[in-house]
């Protein structure tokens, strides 16, 4: 059958391509942590207001993802993992992604201000700015510490959720921030150890490229040590309790053990078993964060200290 391919030069986007611009997988983390931050706060919100607040925090996170994809389209086109994203594959024009990102940022911030309060809205605006400008534009291509500082953007959502309910910041929300902030570097560096992407070809200074893999292993272990006190400290505040503390003790012991195992290996051993330990540590890091926030939720349901 003879087909006429009149539009092959410019493949059109479908709705899912615009959804992909918002990085739905990152959004799921934002939704969960923002919800926990909002829910365990000492002031109760109407459930529908809480739902809307989390929705617009997630939309703001998605908007910053679209801005990130707009700016990083050149990097994404080089790396295999990201080549099929909407902009590098040509389905969404760069200018369109920029417009979507800016428009959704504005909508998300304004709506969060109307739904919750203007402090939370300003906090969301700052988070979008931090991820889209400070991390993506300034840090990502200039320093191997990009992940460390950029992790702050991913750590803000529970603080925004808390701010939606209380209208401010407190030690509990700062410790939830610290939990994600110090968790991010070992999580991403473990990924960098076994993904072996063409970061240098794309011009992204990952720690594995600039300082080598042994240094990356040391950094991972160091961050698991730094992370543990903050995770336990959170259990001693007003949102903590026996359930959370028990979960935190077990998970942090496992996390430090995993970091120690990564530290004790050299590349030859890792190559030999195809990075099994690193991959297991990466999976553990996902479970680690999820269970900490789930434990906060459960503890809130059972009554905190």
């Amino acid at each position: 059958m003879a087909d006429i391919h009149a539009y092959d030069a410019a493949p059109e986007a479908e709705f899912g391509d615009y959804v992909a611009l918002l990085k739905p997988r990152v959004m799921s983390l934002v939704v969960f942590t923002a919800f926990v931050g909002l829910w365990i706060a000492p002031i109760d919100l109407h459930p529908f207001v809480a739902f809307c607040a989390v929705l617009f925090i997630a939309l703001g996170g998605g908007a910053s993802g679209a801005l990130n994809m707009w700016y990083d389209a050149d990097i994404d086109a080089v790396m295999r993992r990201t080549q099929s994203r909407p902009i590098p594959s040509g389905r969404v024009a760069p200018g369109e992604a920029l417009a979507v990102g800016l428009a959704l940022s504005g909508i998300a911030v304004m709506m969060l201000g109307l739904v919750a309060n203007w402090f939370a809205a300003a906090f969301l605006a700052f988070t979008i700015f931090f991820y889209a400008v400070v991390y993506t534009v300034w840090l990502k291509r200039s320093t191997p510490q990009n992940i460390v500082i950029g992790g702050a953007a991913g750590a803000f959502p529970p603080m925004i959720g808390w701010a939606c309910a209380t209208g401010g910041i407190s030690i509990e929300s700062l410790l939830m921030f610290a939990l994600i902030f110090f968790w991010t570097p070992p999580h991403f560096w473990a990924l960098a150890l076994f993904m072996k992407e063409d970061y240098h070809k794309a011009g992204v200074p990952m720690l594995t490229v600039t300082h080598g893999r042994p240094a990356t292993r040391r950094h991972i272990f160091a961050y698991t040590l730094v992370l543990a006190p903050f995770a336990l400290w959170l259990g001693l505040t007003s949102v903590g309790g026996p359930v959370y503390l028990a979960v935190a003790v077990v998970l942090n012991a496992l996390f430090i053990l995993g970091g120690w195992r990564i530290l004790r290996r050299d590349e030859a051993a890792a190559e030999a078993d195809h990075y099994a330990v690193e991959k297991r540590f990466f999976k553990l890091s996902l479970i680690y964060l999820f269970l900490h926030f789930l434990a906060l939720l459960v503890q809130h349901g059972m009554g905190a200290w």
């Binding site: 539009y7 059109e12 479908e14 709705f15 959804v19 809307c52």
Partner: protein, 83 residues
């Protein structure tokens, strides 16, 4: 098949159009729901209304006699007048 055979591009366009329509409808429903909840909660809703705010005035220690007697008589007359 013949004329019914569509190019794939129309499926993509329809997906965009339907998706956007659903998003807009959902947004309208969301704002409506929020309005209902915010009105029910009733906080932070007092706007400037070109007259002294009742909530700011001192409480009247001895409220005047019930003005309720006037209301039933007034209401029927206005409805009759309008008919």
């Amino acid at each position: 098949m013949g004329l019914a055979n569509e190019h794939e591009i129309f499926r993509r366009r329809r997906s965009r159009n339907v998706g956007l329509a659903l998003v807009l409808v959902a947004f309208v429903a969301l704002v409506f729901g929020l309005t209902v909840v915010k009105v029910q909660q009733g906080d932070m809703m007092e706007g400037f209304d070109h007259q002294p705010r009742v909530s700011e005035l001192p409480r009247d220690p001895a409220p005047a006699a019930e003005p309720a007697a006037e209301v039933p008589t007034a209401a029927p007359t206005t409805t009759e007048a309008s008919q």
